[in-house]
């Protein structure tokens, strides 16, 4: 893998390079271990499975080794840094070159699965904020509640594709298709333009902010537009992780589904982290959404965690 982080949970993910690693860790314990012979070993945390990794070839130049520095699972606990969990290691896209995406569920003993619910309870408002931003749809409290209920019913936290950093997009992935009618979409966004061009049955009515328009009927036709998240793809090539998910707006139903708009969202592992890391003074929290999450997740957190 070509990325690392310095602690478990949602934390900054960086590309492995001498500058990034040394600045992030100070080359101190628990990251740097020196054996009796004086040989040092460098460690960090895998951004996907939360297990300890060893950094290989940090000081060797690319010309010498023919390869940039990389991280490798060390398959043991590094005290003070990360505890090894075999279940999560085996499900990790970085665990071995033959890994293939498995859309099954993690076992109940997965540590990541348990942490995911706590994270969702603490950061539900930011999860919804990210989804709103990526889709240009204003997600109401009611819709957010429905999505969370679907996530719980389908045990989204146990999806093998779910990690601490892609939580917002997995929440979207677990949800079924929802109607676009009545939703507010960002004015002049790509989605807005696509609907304006391809959906004569739709009236786009500006709201009083001027930034959003509501999707309504032109008064003569039924609006049968829906949106859904599909094709969550994770692949590793040359140690590099590429993760995407499609946001899809369509009209009608099978076998006559018509695509109105489809966008491949690049899942950026640092995005969620940066939002969570904002100082309290600079971060706006949506208390209504946090209360919803607290209420819905309360029982789950005591049984799963």
């Amino acid at each position: 893998m070509d990325i690392f982080k310095t602690s478990t949970g949602v934390s900054k993910v960086e590309v492995i390079s001498p500058k990034n690693y040394l600045n992030a860790t100070g080359k101190k314990s628990p990251y740097c271990h020196v054996n009796q012979m004086g040989k040092e070993s460098l460690f960090a945390v895998c951004p996907l499975c939360e297990n300890p990794i060893q950094i290989i070839g940090l000081y060797k130049s690319t010309l010498e080794s023919g390869r940039k520095p990389y991280g490798k699972h060390c398959r043991k606990t590094i005290p003070g840094l990360a505890e090894y969990n075999e279940t999560d290691y085996l499900d990790c896209p970085f665990s071995n070159p033959t890994w293939q995406q498995d859309d099954g569920k993690r076992k109940p003993e997965s540590r990541i699965a348990k942490k995911m619910l706590s994270l969702l309870a603490e950061q539900f408002d930011r999860v919804i904020y990210i989804l709103s931003k990526d889709t240009d749809i204003k997600i109401s409290t009611a819709l957010a509640t429905k999505m969370l209920e679907a996530y719980i019913a389908n045990e989204g936290w146990r999806y093998k594709t779910a990690t601490m950093n892609n939580l917002p997009w997995v929440l979207g992935e677990v949800a079924k298709a929802y109607p676009l009618f009545g939703r507010r979409i960002r004015k002049d966004s790509e989605l807005y333009c696509a609907i304006e061009k391809l959906c004569p049955e739709v009236l786009l009515q500006d709201d009083n902010t001027g930034s959003y328009s509501k999707v309504l009927s032109n008064g003569k036709q039924y609006v049968n537009l829906n949106f859904v998240f599909v094709d969550h793809s994770i692949n590793v090539q040359d140690d590099h992780l590429n993760e995407t998910i499609d946001f899809w707006v369509f009209r009608g139903r099978a076998p006559k589904i018509e695509t109105i708009y489809r966008k491949k969202i690049q899942i950026r592992t640092d995005y969620f982290f940066n939002l969570i890391s904002l100082p309290e003074k600079r971060s706006y929290r949506n208390q209504k959404l946090l209360e919803v999450a607290s209420k819905i997740l309360k029982n789950r957190l005591t049984t799963e965690v």
Binding site: S140, T141, F181, G182, N224, R253
Partner: protein, 78 residues
């Protein structure tokens, strides 16, 4: 099944002069349309999703002709 003499079945709600309102602005619910209703004691609203639910019961119990399944698939709030 409740006895038809029970108060609940005698206090019949009726549409309040056909009044209705789009409620897609509501942040707290996913209802799209509500109908103004009146009974012997109250004025209140009835959501479209409730009307649809009642229609599905009526269809199942044979009180209205069967609707095409595709109709139900296309209904947003069912």
């Amino acid at each position: 099944m409740k006895d038809a003499t029970d108060e609940i079945y005698h206090n019949r709600a009726k549409s309040d002069s056909g009044k209705f309102q789009d409620v897609t602005d509501c942040d707290s619910c996913l209802e799209e349309l509500v109908f103004a209703m009146k009974d012997k004691h109250h004025e209140f609203s009835l959501g479209l999703s409730t009307v649809l639910h009642c229609l599905s019961i009526a269809e199942r119990e044979g009180y209205v002709p069967k609707l095409p399944p595709e109709w139900w698939w296309d209904v947003r709030q069912y």
